[in-house]
């Protein structure tokens, strides 16, 4: 009996192992992915199912995922959903809100489990990462010209790889300069004369450090965006060559390194990330914060005293004159079984009416041409938020969501960030940093291009 039980246990273990191997073999051979278009075999067949459903009486539930919009914007999102459901009988929207750090993994595991949401809010980097794996619908092929035509062309092109576009742009938040009047006065600087160039930023930083002992600002961690704004191509137009080791890049690298070497910015900023910069500004420990104007709301809630002393100005620009403006997008996963309806809803939640209403709730800006023309964006009040609104709206024509337009761009950014950090820590010279970063990024880009 004991032997029989042992044999049974061994047999079960073997069956389990064989089932795993067969599952792996299936996944090796079973999926037919068209990586260039982003359509998986299963997705394409489901798509035809979706098209068939469009002509039949509708009884569809679309899963809609967003990033960190609940509970602050529950009323707005629920209101838009209710209106859409009223106008599109038979279509129900099931809204799920997820934290920024969770949505990508959640989407991935959901797709892996064979149950994908239909419409998902992602930033451009996340959208490009998933698009490069063939997980998103190519809107150039499946959306109508009318749907595509409502957006600013440059913003629509943000999430594009090799002629395919994988996202409708949603809201954008051009950076503005927020600065603390109290610290400026304590440093003997004129609060009505904020820095207009990066050289002036450095001069102010030195004065603030000397007079108050506080730091003026914390450089951003988006090195790639800073380099692009400094006139460095980073990636060539044909997406085959990394171009980082340029005189413009060297000038910028030396400028940033000098800030650290002269102790004009906190070293904690290297690992602290954006949250650290925001917390330091809210605590009244740094004089300036460069970020999207929507974050003023957090300063207002968390640090009323700092908010009351916050002044707003244009972001000091580099040689390109561009302003980095991270964009939020809405995508349709290829595995959604109702592409047509999903695209229609994605287009609706990002259309002129929806975006304008959203912009009136929070300090963000529309990616659609008509909504951006609304007089609301030129009406200024006295509070920092409404001043930021007008300044940011005026900078929209110079606002760019800086992306490389290549698959797995996150890996390229990681290499650049690591080499940049080594330079800031004094482990290598700016010259060596640019050379190493360019070589390593080129190697990775070649791998990416070979595999895509």
């Amino acid at each position: 009996m004991a032997n029989k039980l042992r044999s049974t246990a061994i047999l079960l273990a073997m069956m389990l192992f064989i089932s795993v191997l067969s599952a792996c073999t299936q996944s090796t051979t079973g999926k037919t992915t068209d990586q260039k278009t982003g359509n998986q075999g299963s997705g394409a067949s489901e798509n035809s199912k979706g098209n068939n459903q469009a002509s039949a009486p509708k009884n569809i539930t679309l899963d809609f995922w967003t990033i960190a919009l609940s509970p602050n914007f529950d009323d707005y999102i629920n209101g838009r959903i209710a209106k859409y459901e009223q106008e599109n009988q038979g279509v129900k929207i099931k809204w799920t809100d997820l934290p920024f750090t969770a949505i990508e993994n959640k989407l991935l595991t959901s797709i892996a489990a064979g149950k994908s949401p239909d419409v998902v809010n992602l930033n451009t980097n996340m959208a490009l990462t998933l698009a490069s794996k063939g997980a998103l619908v190519d809107l150039n092929k499946q959306a109508t010209a009318e749907q595509i035509g409502i957006y600013f062309e440059e913003m629509y092109k943000s999430a594009s790889i090799q002629g395919s576009t994988f996202a409708f742009p949603w809201y954008i938040a051009p950076h503005v300069l927020m600065y603390n009047k109290k610290i400026y006065e304590a440093a003997g600087l004129d609060p009505n004369a904020p820095p207009k160039t990066w050289d002036e930023v450095k001069q102010h930083a030195a004065a603030i450090k000397e007079k108050t002992g506080k730091y003026a600002f914390i450089p951003t961690i988006a090195v790639y965006a800073d380099l692009v704004n400094a006139g460095v191509p980073v990636i060539s137009e044909d997406k085959k060559k990394v171009v980082i080791n340029t005189p413009e890049a060297l000038t910028y690298a030396k400028w940033v390194k000098a800030l650290y070497d002269e102790d004009l910015v906190p070293k904690d900023g290297i690992t602290g990330g954006y949250t650290y910069a925001l917390n330091q500004f809210q605590a009244g420990e740094v004089a300036m914060l460069i970020t999207g104007s929507q974050f003023l709301n957090r300063v207002k809630q968390n640090a009323a005293d700092v908010y009351a002393n916050t002044l707003i100005a244009d972001v000091p620009t580099q040689s390109s004159g561009n302003i980095h403006a991270p964009l939020m997008n809405v995508v349709v996963p290829a595995m959604s079984d109702t592409h047509e309806e999903a695209i229609a809803f994605a287009n609706y939640i990002t259309n002129d009416e929806s975006q304008l209403e959203f912009a009136k709730v929070v300090n963000i800006f529309p990616s659609t041409k008509e909504a951006a023309k609304d007089p609301f964006f030129t009406e200024s009040g006295e509070d920092p938020e409404s001043k930021a609104k007008v300044i940011a709206a005026a900078s929209l024509p110079r606002a760019i969501d800086i992306t490389f337009g290549v698959p797995d761009q996150g890996e390229l950014i990681s290499i650049l960030t690591k080499e940049w950090e080594k330079m800031l820590l004094g482990q290598q010279t700016p010259e060596a940093t640019l050379k190493n970063a360019e070589e390593q990024m080129q190697k990775k880009l070649d791998e990416i291009n070979a595999n895509y």
Binding site: L5, T32, Q35, K133, T271, E421, L424
Partner: protein
């Protein structure tokens, strides 16, 4: 008809069945599933191809992984620190001193505190203008603000400090249980024979605690090599990968780059290293206790 012995076997298997079933689903199946993945370019979505040993070759020529592996092995230096300190603390709180319960609870508080909350709090404390620098400067020990977590020479050690702080209470409780299981006659006999307090600890208490030392060392070696939470929250593996450990690197490869095949291979390599350390610990650490293992 089953005889008594086989009925016992059957009963034992039936009792174990629910637990085994859960382990099969949540432990054995993922482990077995992960093995073939190490030989593929699996990325959850997209086409999966069998690539043989390519992931392993890549791992041993990947400078970032090798640095992470080096840091993970370096992390083992927390093990003797935790063990020695927790044994000392256990001996201290094993006495019937006034207020000893307060200390037992105090030392255990970090154990029940969420690592995420603790790591965030320590991150604040390690900031340039944080309380650590304030104390050190006030005491005249340092001059100027040290960026503990942004300095490649200190980042990993600052995180190790938090690991030690968080783990002490846990191991102290195990050692306390061990101390209380030692028959007091043995220590009394040693005292009658003229041994002083230090000699009793050295020649009686510590040898009798040896099985607990083995258990705790094994647990903390495994935890040290697999460390993730505190590193991810406090430094994210930075600056410039100076505090990158295999746990964080595996996470980055799997969940940021979606390179699950490679991440599985890294996970397997780390598991084998943990296994190797465990074998070494068992080989050289299984003496002592009330009954020798032989």
């Amino acid at each position: 008809m089953l005889n008594t012995r086989n009925r016992r076997y059957l009963f034992a298997y039936l009792m174990m069945a629910p637990g085994l079933l859960l382990m099969a689903i949540f432990t054995f199946y993922p482990i077995i599933y992960g093995l073939p993945l190490t030989f593929t370019n699996y990325s959850v979505i997209g086409e999966t191809k069998w690539i043989g040993l390519a992931n392993f070759k890549r791992a041993f020529s990947d400078p970032d992984f090798l640095l992470a592996l080096k840091n993970s092995i370096l992390y083992i230096i927390v093990v003797p620190v935790i063990q020695i300190l927790s044994i000392c603390m256990a001996i201290l709180v094993n006495n019937n001193l006034k207020g000893v319960r307060f200390f037992r609870v105090s030392y255990f508080v970090p154990v029940v505190t969420s690592m995420v909350a603790a790591a965030i709090a320590w991150k604040w404390m390690f900031e340039q203008k944080g309380i650590i620098n304030f104390i050190l400067e006030s005491a005249g020990i340092t001059n100027g603000n040290i960026a503990w977590l942004a300095n490649p020479d200190t980042a990993l050690y600052a995180v190790m400090f938090v690991t030690v702080w968080k783990g002490l209470g846990y191991y102290m409780m195990i050692y306390l249980a061990g101390l209380q299981s030692i028959p007091s006659e043995l220590q009394e006999a040693a005292k009658i024979d003229g041994a002083n307090r230090a000699q009793v600890i050295r020649h009686v208490t510590i040898p009798l605690l040896q099985p607990f030392v083995l258990l705790c060392s094994l647990l903390s070696v495994m935890s040290a090599i697999r460390v993730f939470d505190e590193v991810y929250i406090m430094t994210g593996g930075g600056p410039a990968h100076a505090s990158m450990v295999t746990g964080v690197y595996t996470y980055v490869k799997a969940f940021q780059d979606f390179d699950f095949g490679y991440a599985a291979a890294i996970g397997l390599i780390v598991s084998l290293i943990v296994m190797l350390f465990s074998i070494i610990l068992f080989k050289y650490g299984k003496k002592g206790g009330l009954n020798y293992y032989g």
